[in-house]
Structure formats: C-alpha cells, structure tokens
C-alpha cells in the first residue's frame, strides 16, 4: 500500500456515482436502485477501512495523506485546488459516515419498502454521503464549503422528501433558510481568511498544532472575527442557539434521514469545523469563550425542549441538539476538550442513530404513530427494538461502562478543568444537563416501552399526529395498531449500532486509545481541574440518579395520561421549543417585514423617482438627438466638416495651452 492516497478520491467517487446513476437512471432502476445505493455506500466503507488499516501501519507523524486531484480555479493570486487531506481527524469521520451510513442504507431498504420513490431516496442518500465525505476530506476551506453546501442540499431534499405534505415542504424550506444564515458566516470567514492570509488551504493557514501556520502572524482581532464567523456557520449546521430552530421541524423527513443526517453525521459538521480550525480558535480566546457559552446554552436548551415533547422523534431531536451542545462546549475548551468533543461525537453517532432507528422501528410497528402518549408497554411486542433502544438509552444517559459514560464524563471533567469561575459555571451546566438528559430519556423509555398499553381500543393517526408517514399506508389507517417486530433488514443495523453504543466508549478510553490516535492532529492538554476525576464521576452519577428518579416518579409510578395535561408555564414554553419560532417571528420576520416595507417605500418614492426621471430625460435626449439624423447626406457632411474643424481646432488648442 504505497499509494494509499490514491484511494481517497474513490471514497467520494463511489457514492457520487451512485447518486448520478440513481438520479438520472430513470424507472428502469426502480427494482435494483436500493441495492445499488447500499452497495456503493458499503464500497466506500471498505475503501475507508483499507485506508484506516494503512494509517494504522504508519507512525503517528506520517498519518496524513494528501491527494491532489486538479487545480480548480487557477488565477494569479488566487488558487483553489481540489485536494484531499486524510488525517486521523478526517479518518475518524470517514469511518463514522460510511459505517453508520451503510447501516442506515440497509435499514432504509426495509423502511422505505413501500415508497414508490425509493430509488430517488437512495440517490439522495448517496448524494449526502458524497457531499459529507467531501466536507471532511477537503484540504482547503473553499472545497469544504462545496461539501458544506452539498450536505445542505441533500438535507433539504431529504427533509422535504415527502413533499406532498405541506409540513415537510415547509420544514425543508425552514432548514434551508436557517442554514443560509450560517453559510453566510462560512463564506465571510473564507473571504476574511483570503484577504488576511492570501490563501485558504489548511496546510499554510493552520499549520500543525505544534507549529501554527499563517494564523500565528495575524492579529487577534482578525482571528476573533474569523473564528466567530466559523462559529456562526457551525451554529447553523449543528443547530446551536441561536440558529437551532430548524432541527425539530427537520424530523418531518423519513426516520433513516433523521438518524443519519440529523443525528449522527451532518449536524456534527459544525463540531468538525471548529476542531479542524483549532489553531484559529486557540489564538482567539474571546471567540473560544463564545463557543463554550453557545455550547452550554444549547445543551440546556435542547435538553429542556426534549423533556416536554410528546413526539418521539422531536424528543430525540431535542436530545441531539443538547448532545451537540456538549460537543461544542468541549470544542470551545481548546486543547483540553478537542479530543473529547470528537470522541463524544463518535459515540453519539452510534447511540443516537440507534435510538432513531429504534424510534423508526416503533413507528413502523405502530402505524406511523409518533405520539408517545399513545404508546406504552411495547417491550413485549418488539423485543429486539426494546433491547437495542434500551442499550442506546443507557449509553446516552451515561450509565457506567457504556459509551456515553466515557465520553460525556470526559467533557464534564474538561469543563471543570477550564479553571476559574468559567470552569465552575460550565461544569455546573454540563452536570445539570446530565441530570436533565437522564430525566427526558427515562421519560421516553417509560412512555414507549413500559406502563399500560395506551394504544389499545383507540385508532391511531389522529388528526393532530403531525408526522404521519405514508410509507406504511399499507397497514391500514384508523385501525387499532398491531405492534410487531420489524424485518431483519431493519433490526440488524439496530443491533450493530447497539454494539457500538455499548462498547465504543470503553474501547476508545481503555489505554487512552482515542486520545493517542487524535492527539497528533488536535493537540491535547490536561488542564488543571479543581476537582478530581473521581469526584466529577461521582457527581455525574448522582445527577443521573436524580434525573432517573424524577422521571420514574412522574411517568413510571403513575399512569401516563393519553391527552397531555396543560402543564406549567415552562412545560408549555418547552413544548413550543422554548418559543424559538415565536422569537424568530417577532424579531426576524416582523422586523424584516418592516424593513422591507420601509425600503419599498423609499424605493418607490425616491429611487424610482430618480430612475424614472433619468430614464425619461435620457429618452427625451435620445428623441431630440435623433432628429439630427435627418437622412440628408448634406447635413451629414456638414456634421463631419464641423467635427473635423473642431478636431483640428482642439488639437491646435491643446498645443497652445
């Protein structure tokens, strides 16, 4: 394997080929389309595995592979190359994306079985894989931006996949619009980089963590500006406050999409961006502080929203937001937290994808009902789903020994290790988040799999169930559901992901494997924690127990009402996503309307007046000048003679002056 870097392009090429074939192939491919998509996704995973083996065979300092394909924009003073960089950081992402991606392709074969546009669905999924791989493999910010927009497009197409539902179309549009705000941040960051450094390639700009590149010479103000713009981009893509409002609605997409794009991979691109740009953030402490604040606020925000939702997918979406908040918080801590941000990202990729697939499996068996108040006692009917979902649940709340325990605990430790008052505040937020996570996940678990069977004697698919998926229309609507286990193509991915949920964290942490693997890229420092590791772990356990206990008291001991009670003010606010849409509406939409209205007024009176006036006067002038053209050769000759006279006179005059 001397030329392993030549394989990098194939990673992207395989799913890209799939997207091209499936989206242009037409109906002829309907019968085999899903297999084509799945096999190409798996092929990409195989290439990733080969490259991973190759990297492992090298010394830590030689684990960066560069593949230069061609020069994209060759202009003097501005060069954009199509170059890929495969190092430990992007390798981690490649394995996560292609691995989880292949499993979800497999799962979708069963899940989308009855959708007549299944071929197109797989085309979009492959397109997503290609774009996401381009995002993490790009060797400069401009190429990264291409991938960034590509995943945005795929996300838009997949959220609105059931475009006949107005809610899905609206959700897709909302995701697209909110993401635009973030994308603008990324493009401004790239422009700032170009004007400051004259290039936006990773190598020259960032350098390595031991020896920073051009960033070393730039002023802190510039770097803070770039970093904040990158953070804005990350907020858009990763649904962080204040650009978080799209993620809940994005659950309108098919559940495999929610699992792959809106839980495991795409939404973590913001974390990747921050960790990749570590050398910029390291030199801009003010920006880092903002990153940690955004992370801490979001982790609480998402968790609170997750507590109040009765829609299982939206509860999980709140949880995703909250977990990414943890990652962003860790990424904002600098070298103390980078490795743990990525580690939590990977373990979260396993357990959250597993949870979403479990939710999809539940919906599959329940006539696409999403309201947890109409579930209950399902553990008997769906044993595999119950076990895999349960393991994911234990992982996410941080049950000792499971994946989430290792990665989340490290982040909480790192938050305290930040030191000073900030450290205490951030650490406290992270601990509080852990308690709330335990609460809402226990709530989901209890409402879905335990308690009385609330779905009996009443038809599901009530009008207020917002996310009815037509894929399973064959089950017959308005009938009492008959919960059943899902087919193998769906349960196998869930089992595989459950294994990851259980063992990944331990595997990474024993002997600090993950730390040693990633440290050459991101750098690492221990920080000085005021608390010992054991204290933090103990405190986390206490929080966990409190959260579970409260949930048990509310939902385990007492029967769950089928119709949601009115609830406290906070509950009602949380049901409305903590009023994020109302805020956006009042501030942005109304404000925007006022702004456009006043602009239109100015445009009509002032601008149009000037424009029309100019046009009228030019037109009038034209009409008058036109009369000079009277058709008589003698007039033309006089004009020429006059012109020549002026020409001669002017030339002589110039000399005289």
């Amino acid at each position: 394997m001397t030329n392993a870097e030549n394989l990098i392009a194939l990673l992207i090429a395989a799913p890209l080929l799939g997207a091209a074939v499936l989206l242009t192939g037409g109906r002829r491919l309907d019968a085999v389309g899903h297999w084509v998509g799945t096999i190409l996704a798996a092929a990409s995973f195989v290439f990733g595995a080969i490259l991973f083996a190759d990297l492992l065979g090298k010394n830590a300092e030689h684990r960066t592979l560069i593949q230069h394909l061609w020069t994209w924009i060759p202009v003097e003073g501005f060069q954009a190359d199509v170059t890929f960089r495969l190092d430990q950081l992007s390798m981690t992402f490649v394995l996560l994306i292609t691995g989880v991606g292949s499993l979800i392709h497999l799962y979708s074969i069963g899940y989308m079985e009855h959708d007549e546009r299944r071929r197109r669905f797989f085309g979009y999924l492959n397109l997503f894989l290609a774009a996401m791989l381009l995002l993490v493999l790009a060797d400069n910010y401009l190429l990264l931006y291409v991938g960034w927009e590509g995943v945005g497009l795929a996300s838009y197409l997949l959220i609105g996949f059931w475009q006949h539902k107005p809610s899905a179309a609206t959700a897709a549009k909302k995701a697209f619009l909110v993401n635009r705000v973030g994308d603008m941040g990324l493009s401004i960051a790239i422009m700032l980089m170009f004007t400051t450094f004259g290039t936006f390639a990773f190598g020259p700009v960032l350098g390595s963590h031991e020896k920073p590149g051009l960033v070393d010479g730039a002023s802190e103000a510039t770097l803070t500006g770039i970093a904040l713009m990158l953070l804005l981009a990350a907020c858009g893509k990763s649904a962080q406050v204040p650009l978080q409002s799209w993620l809940g609605d994005a659950m309108e997409g098919p559940t495999p999409v929610s699992a792959l794009i809106h839980a495991a991979t795409m939404v973590t691109a913001g974390v990747y961006l921050i960790v990749r740009s570590a050398n910029i953030f390291n030199l801009a402490p003010d920006a880092q502080l903002v990153v940690t604040v955004v992370g801490a606020v979001t982790l609480l925000f998402g968790a609170i929203v997750g507590c109040a939702k009765d829609d299982i997918k939206k509860a999980l979406a709140g949880s995703t937001m909250s977990q990414i908040g943890y990652m962003v918080l860790a990424a904002g801590l600098g070298p103390i937290g980078y490795v743990f941000a990525i580690m939590h990202l990977v373990t979260h990729g396993f357990f959250k994808a597993g949870l979403f697939l479990g939710a999809g499996s539940v919906m599959h068996g329940m006539n696409d009902e999403v309201d947890m108040r109409k579930y209950g006692g399902l553990r008997k009917y769906m044993p595999i789903t119950f076990v895999t979902f349960g393991l994911g649940y234990l992982a996410i709340i941080g049950f000792p020994g499971l994946s989430g325990f290792f990665s989340k605990d490290k982040i909480i430790e790192a938050a305290f290790a930040k030191g000073g008052t900030e450290g205490w505040i951030l650490g406290a937020c992270a601990l509080l988040g852990a308690a709330i996570t335990a609460f809402y996940m226990t709530r989901v678990m209890l409402m879905t799999f335990f308690g009385e069977e609330r779905w009996k004697n009443q038809p599901t698919r009530s009008p207020e169930a917002p996310s009815a998926e037509p894929a399973a229309a064959h089950h017959g609507e308005h009938a009492e559901p008959h919960p059943h286990e899902s087919p193998k193509s769906m349960t196998i991915p869930m089992i595989v992901l459950a294994f990851g949920s259980v063992f990944a964290g331990g595997f990474f942490s024993i002997g600090d494997r993950f730390l040693h693997w990633l440290e050459p890229v991101t750098g690492h420092s221990e920080g000085d924690s005021p608390l010992s590791a054991a204290t933090v772990t103990g405190a986390t356990m206490v929080c966990l127990l409190i959260g579970v206990a409260i949930a048990w008291a509310q939902y385990g001991r007492r029967p769950v009402p089928v119709v949601a009670p009115r609830g406290s003010l906070l509950t009602r606010a949380a049901r409305r996503d903590l009023l994020q849409d109302d805020f956006n509406h009042v501030v942005l939409v109304r404000g925007g309307e006022h702004l456009t209205r006043s602009l239109v007024y100015v445009d009509h009176t002032l601008v149009d007046g000037v424009v029309n006036g100019t046009a009228a006067s030019v037109g009038g002038l034209s009409g008058r000048m036109r009369k000079l053209q009277n058709g008589f050769a003698r007039s033309y000759a006089v004009s020429m003679f006059g012109g020549a006279a002026i020409l001669v006179a002017a030339t002589l005059l110039m000399r005289a002056v």
Binding site: L621, Q629, A633, M640, V648
Partner: protein, 549 residues
C-alpha cells in the same frame, strides 16, 4: 524640362537602367494579402468565362479556398515568429509584418469567412422561377421597378460579382492595419472602400433604399477620404516623408532634415497637428465615431444585411488597426496633444451611440447605433497608450466582430412577405414562435451588453481596465454609464422577444442552409468561449500587442 533630360529619354547609353535597384518584395510575408488579391482576380475571370449556372459554385469555391489559404498563411507567419521576434517591415517599408498586423489580419479573415457564408446563403428568399436566389439584386445595373429588372428576376439571375468584390474589400482590409506608410494606407483605404460602396447598393429587396444608402456612403466616404489625403499631404510637408517610422522620428526630433527641398515647411508644428487631426478624422469616419458617424445608421439599414454584418465587423477591425498604428507608431510623440481630443471623441461616441439607440424602432438601425457605442468603448482602450491598451483593443475587436456578424445573420432569418422584417414591433413574441433563434439572438444581445460569461464582458473588462490603468478613469466611468444605458435597449429587445404576445400576422423564421447556420453557430461558440475562458485569447492578444517601428 531641359533639353538634356529630353535627350536622355531618347538615348540608352548615358545611364544604364541596371543601376536602379529592383524593389525587394518579401512575397512570403505578404502572402495573405497576395492570395486574396489573386483570388479576387480569379473571381473576375470566373465572371467572364464560366457559364452563369456554375458561377455561384465556382465563386464560392474560389473564395473559401482563398480565405482558408490566407488564414493558413497568417497562422504560418505567426508560428514562424513574425508576430514577435522576427517582426519587421516588408515591401520596401510599405507594409509592417508584426503582432498586431497578423492578429488583425487573422481576425479579418475569419470574420470574412463567416461573412462569406451569409453572402452565399440562398435558401432564405423564396425561389423565383425555379432559381434559388441570395440577398443580392438580380442584376445590379437594372433600374429598380423597370422591365429589365423584371426580366432579370424572371431569368433567375444572381449577382455573383459580390464574391470578387468581397475579396477585393478583404484584401484592402488586410493591408490597412499593416500599412507602414501613408500612401499605402490611403491606397488600402480606397481598395476596401470602393467594393463596399458597390456591395451596399446590391440589395434584392428595397433596392431604392439600398442604392440611396450606397450613394450616401460613397459621398461621405469620399469626403472623408479627401480629408485623409489632405492630411497626408500636410504630414509630408511637415516630415518630408510618408513613412511611418521617419515621421515618428521627425516628431521626436531624432531627425531634423529629410528632404532639402522641404526645408521651408519641415518641422512646422501647425502642419503636423492639422495633418494628424485630418488623417485621424478619416479613420474615425471609418470606425463610425461621433460626430463622423451619421452615415452608419442609414448605410447599415439600407445595405443588404449580409453586407452590413461583414462591413460592421471587418471594417471596424481594419480601421481600428490602422488607427492604433497611426497613434502608437507615428504619433506617440504627440500623445499629449491627441489624447485629450480623443478623450472627448470617445466620450461623445459612447454616450451618443447609447442614447440615440434607445429610441430606435428598426433592428438594423438599433445595431448600427450599438456599433457606434462600441466604437466608443474601443476608443477608450486605444487611448490607454499602453501595451495593455493594444492587446485589449485586439481582443475586443476579435470578440466584437463575431457577435456582430452573428447578430446580423439572425436578422436575415426573421422575414415576412416584404423580405426581412426589421421593424422591432414585428419581433414581439419571437421567443414563443422560435425559441432557439430568439435565444441565440439573446446571447448576442447579452454579449453586446457586456454581461459576464459572454465575450462582450471579457472585452469590455479588458479595455476599461487598460483605460483605467492608463490614467483615463473618468473615461471608464462614462463607459460604464453608457454601458448601463445601452443595456437598457439590448434587454428591451430580449423582453420584447420573450415576454410580449406574438402578433397574429408576425414574421416567420426562415430555415437557413448550413451556411448561415455555421455563421450563427460560430458566432455563438466564439461568444461563449471568449466569455467563459478568455484567458488563452487574452494571452494571445498580449503576445501580439507590440508594434514594429
């Protein structure tokens, strides 16, 4: 005459004639021009000796072969280094063979080839009495509306003389930008002007208008030629030479005496300034700059449309080439005198062309005013007086000529019962009827307007950049304003074609032969290629941008 001289005429012994040096002619370097001239003469012989039925094909064959061969000769010369290292002056100082000359000759030849295709188109007019006919009069000499005209039409005559006329014009245009002395310049001017006057008079339809246009063009052209000739005389009086290089040296002061007989007038600055202004005026007439532009709309409208397209493209290339050489080779020492004057001319040309175009209702007149505005833009590049100025003008001319020929070729397609339907109101809704033709025309209009990804943008950007770097920033501002005004009427035509209801009795779009299709196709291709990837051609123009002195 003294007796001794008379005597010497009758004897051969006194001075052997062999003492007169035979002129040294570099036939190879002059081959492009010589090929075209030779082919033109062959064309005349074809008219005399080939039966009428075969003439069209014979003429077409001769013309195509000649243009191809001449273009190949230009490419060979350029490849041989005559554009750069081996650039020099040939034919006893009469003709320069250098980068700009070869670049412009190549452009003229390619544009002429495309123009030739539109000349040869015979599918647009309905067949008359079983004969396919082109855009030209059946018999040029017959009076419009007379019996003899009817007889000629009935007999199915066509004026195949247009092909040799075209070739003569092309030959003159090839010499014009390469001329290295004032007399050659004048001869070339007449060589290409006279055939054009004739061609303008040869329209098959609307013959009176066509003849009127030709007469106007001839009268005003002769008037302008007279100025040029008088300017040449004055310059000779000033410098004692008609050679560009010598005049430039006298202007610089490197040479003080050339001809003792002219000691009285030599070095008289009034002669220099007036003479230079008059020569420049003659050239400004040919490029159609305000206030010498008034012939343009009338002639463009009256001439047969293929001739208009050819003339608008190739004449402009040749005349700007000659203007560049005069200003950069002969008069660089006079820069501070002519630049302000040219500034003024450029400004009134850009604004005048753009403003008057707004109220035009005839598509051919509209394009005529547009060509005036473009002459102003090109002048902005000429004024830069930097190497970038030269190369930007070369690039602009190449880009502009193909757009122009293509646009006029499209005009030939839109027809109603009276021939070409040139009134704008008839173009309403064309996009619904013939989306392809309308789309192609829209591409040309966008190129005229200078919208990015068309050659017009690359060209405009190049000349404005050169002008700004040459210290003519105000000129660029005026240029951008004029472009904005001009964009209005280009876009208006697009709106008219695509967003208006078609008229019930509107024109039809004729299906042309592959000849016109090729002409239009080449126009679109060049427009897009020069717009999307101009770099190679900009580099080419850059390499070609150095005049030999």
């Amino acid at each position: 005459m003294s007796a001794t001289v008379v005597h010497s005429l009758w004897t051969t012994a006194a001075d052997p004639i062999s003492k007169i040096d035979a002129p040294k002619i570099e036939y190879g370097q002059l081959s492009p021009t010589l090929i075209i001239l030779g082919a033109a003469i062959v064309g005349v012989l074809v008219e005399a000796f080939v039966p009428r039925k075969s003439r069209y094909y014979a003429q077409l064959f001769v013309s195509v072969v000649a243009l191809c061969a001449a273009f190949a000769a230009v490419v060979a010369l350029a490849a041989d280094g005559y554009a750069t290292t081996k650039a020099g002056i040939a034919a006893m100082g009469a003709i320069a063979v250098d980068g700009p000359a070869l670049f412009l000759q190549g452009t003229i030849l390619l544009a002429s080839m495309v123009g030739l295709f539109t000349f040869a188109e015979r599918r647009l007019d309905p067949e008359t009495h079983g004969n396919r006919v082109d855009s030209f009069a059946a018999q040029a000499a017959s009076v419009p509306g007379s019996d003899s005209e009817r007889a000629a039409v009935k007999a199915g005559f066509t004026t195949t003389e247009v092909f040799p006329l075209l070739l003569f014009a092309v030959a003159g245009m090839l010499i014009f930008p390469a001329a290295n002395d004032l007399l050659t310049l004048f001869v070339a001017l007449e060589v290409f002007s006279l055939p054009l006057y004739l061609l303008c008079a040869l329209a098959r339809r609307k013959r009176l208008m066509s003849q009127e246009a030709a007469v106007k063009y001839f009268l005003l052209g002769s008037f302008a030629s007279a100025f040029t000739l008088f300017g040449i005389a004055l310059l000779y009086g000033y410098a004692g030479s008609v050679s560009y290089g010598t005049i430039a040296q006298v202007v610089d002061g490197t040479i003080s005496t050339v001809d003792p007989a002219l000691a009285d007038t030599m070095g008289n600055d009034a002669l220099l300034l007036i003479g230079a202004a008059m020569i420049v005026m003659g050239l400004l007439f040919k490029v159609g700059a305000v206030p010498f532009h008034m012939w343009t709309p009338d002639v463009y409208q009256g001439a047969p449309t293929p001739v208009t397209g050819f003339m608008a493209a190739a004449t402009k290339v040749a005349a700007f080439g000659a203007l560049l050489r005069i200003l950069y080779v002969v008069l660089p020492g006079l820069r501070w005198d002519w630049r302000p004057v040219m500034w003024a001319v450029a400004i009134v040309t850009m604004l005048g062309g753009a403003i008057v175009a707004i109220t035009q209702t005839d598509i051919k007149r509209l394009l005529a005013y547009s060509s005036i505005a473009h002459a102003g833009f090109i002048l902005a590049g000429v004024i830069a007086t930097t190497p970038d100025g030269v190369s930007s003008v070369l690039f602009y001319l190449a880009a502009y000529s193909f757009v122009t020929i293509g646009a006029f070729a499209v005009v030939t397609l839109v027809r109603d019962a009276g021939g070409e339907a040139t009134h704008l109101s008839k173009w309403a809704g064309l996009g619904r009827r013939s989306p392809l033709v309308a789309a192609v025309f829209a591409v040309f209009l966008l190129a005229f307007a200078g919208i990015p990804l068309t050659s017009g943008f690359a060209g405009k950007f190049a000349v404005f950049k050169a002008a700004a770097e040459g210290g003519a920033a105000p000129l660029v501002v005026v240029g951008v304003i004029s472009s904005a005004i001009a964009a209005f009427f280009y876009i208006r035509v697009i709106v008219l074609m695509f967003f208006s209801e078609p008229r019930p009795e509107g024109p039809t779009v004729a299906v042309p032969s592959p000849l016109t299709m090729t002409a239009i196709g080449v126009g679109v291709a060049v427009t897009l290629v020069l717009g999307v990837a101009p770099q190679y051609f900009l580099d080419l123009a850059n390499q070609a941008g150095v005049f030999v002195r």
